[in-house]
Assembly symmetry: C2
Homo-oligomer: 344 residues x 2
């Protein structure tokens, strides 16, 4: 997996990635990219939705993808850090699933290259879904007779119920969880009245201050065109002397270093999307920052070494609010019945 240290590349690469040459602003596409070996079908998406909502994938039968990535709200769990099986707390803030399909890597540290890979992670994490191993998880699902038909509809008859197919189906469903059509999207698509004066002022500040160096592209999470599997990484905090680092304990978790152990990964993080922030409080990898204005101040200080004025903060917040929704209406999936001895 090739890794891009975002800060320097991003500045060089901006014009080349921009849909409209000369501007870093891109609207969210109406369809998420999908890998050639996992093209979506209605049957696959429907199966993926069932699995996404199915708590029987967890040791206790109480935690599903949906538990921490609530698509009835902001695609996260409203908490600083998540709670998995047996009431255990995780260490990082749940990233939103909305528009994850547009990111070039998954998890806060980009350690999963694809949605398919990501989907398998929480299943065996002892503080998330807590299954012993992936085989136990898919064996559990395979013991639910009503899953045979939807798996075969999605993947053909035969040995359809595999962890690989389950992950593919969940990823195919997640590629439908996108929110094009925000006020910002309408603005950059030509509707010049879609943003308020203040939002336009904030957009200019966002560019002038340099926020857009990292938070660029359709998802504000990195340049468009980065190959899937290539995390767009950034150092955080860039300025460790910022008083916010102590206030919010922002340097304790060393980011990608925690999973790779490489010195070059210390405090490196995947640049998170800025879409739908209105719905994803609290903020930062540890969920320590409670409001968008404060998050903007923190980022100004820790990444740009600047103390932003109230005016700058307010304008940027107004702009960030324009990146909200709309969330598509979804029908609830119907889950097959449980054998009585499946869960103890």
């Amino acid at each position: 997996m090739k890794i891009i240290a975002g800060f320097f590349l991003a500045i060089l690469a901006l014009p080349a990635f921009a849909a409209d040459p000369g501007t870093p602003w891109q609207s969210l596409p109406l369809k998420a990219p999908e890998p050639k070996d996992n093209l979506a079908t209605p049957a696959k998406v429907e199966l993926g939705k069932m699995l996404y909502f199915d708590p029987r994938f967890s040791e206790t039968g109480t935690v599903s993808c949906f538990s921490c990535h609530n698509v009835m709200e902001g695609g996260d769990d409203h908490r600083p850090t998540s709670i998995g099986v047996h009431g255990q707390k995780g260490g990082r803030n749940a990233p939103t699933v909305w528009n994850a399909a547009f990111l070039s890597s998954q998890f806060w540290d980009g350690r999963a290259g694809t949605l398919e890979d990501q989907a398998k992670g929480p299943v065996t994490n002892p503080v998330e879904m807590g299954m012993k191993d992936l085989q136990s998880a898919i064996d559990r699902i395979g013991r639910i007779p009503g899953y045979r038909q939807p798996f075969e509809a999605a993947f053909g008859s035969g040995d359809a119920i595999t962890i690989g197919n389950a992950a593919k189906a969940i990823a195919a469903y997640e590629r439908t969880l996108i929110t094009p059509g925000s006020a910002y999207d309408r603005f950059v698509s030509g509707n010049k009245t879609a943003l308020t004066e203040q939002q336009i002022a904030g957009m200019k500040q966002f560019q002038a201050l340099g926020c857009v160096a990292c938070h660029q592209g359709p998802a504000f999470a990195g340049p468009v065109g980065l190959p899937t599997g290539t995390p767009f990484l950034m150092k955080f905090p860039m300025f460790p002397a910022s008083p916010y680092v102590a206030t919010y304990d922002l340097a304790k978790d060393q980011g990608r270093f925690e999973s790779t152990g490489k010195e070059s990964d210390r405090h490196m993080w995947r640049v998170p999307t800025l879409r739908n922030l209105v719905y994803t409080a609290p903020y930062m990898h540890n969920g320590a920052v409670k409001t968008i204005p404060e998050a903007v101040r923190v980022m100004g200080s820790t990444q740009l070494n600047r103390t932003l004025s109230d005016q700058e903060v307010n304008d940027i917040v107004a702009f960030l609010e324009s990146l909200t929704g709309p969330f598509p209406t979804q029908a609830m999936p119907k889950l097959p019945p449980t054998p009585g001895d499946l869960l103890q």
Copy 2:
């Protein structure tokens, strides 16, 4: 609250309650009864659905009504007993929410008279949603700005966000969670091919053996026409010498006695619905019995002091399977965003 000891009354009362005089068989109405002081409106039902799915009603922000009453499946949680906040286990099997609107009382011991009363119970149960008190719960919801509009749409402007209104909205939503149109319903409505020969044989056995003495009425949970708030109670186990009582530890929990302390309530239980059993394994108040055939054998032994033949069991199981669904298609609710300091 007037209490009916079901066994004796039921036998006397059967003809009077039957829609078709002379038969105990009634189809499920297409609409659930509703109290005069809580007539449904679309705005109230939609608010109720939002609240039903909202985990922010729990201490940790992880447990909603939906967590243990999963309307994407059988309206329960597939577990022997439920798991609430901090991984704590409850003592009884989660009853299904499907068709609860047709029951004359709520909870396994009938201690809540109405859906409105029931909705408030789990919120402050320390092993369920774990809120300190109902006021804290509604204060929490009131701090979510996006709830003001839906509460006012449902209950008018002014002091709309109250625990009473929240319970009313949830109850109004639950009254939409009904499953008329099962094969059995179509059969008793005149479609004589809706049941198989075996199912009809099972239906006759169900009546001849006396199961229908308690499991009667549209929900198979008691006679139609019992005033709401009047639990239809039955002793269980009726024959404590049944070997199943020890095998499945069926007498440890003393039922209604545990909440009232009255001697006459010892081992008294509300008669549970038999609809959608295919979806609600495992069975009994403690979730100890894993399959429908075994549940039928247990009931034959503990309530009728009979050892049922395999043929009787198989026929009755076939009949019980005819009481399944259909479950209505539902759109997911959209929940308002969370202030970043709502949950710690």
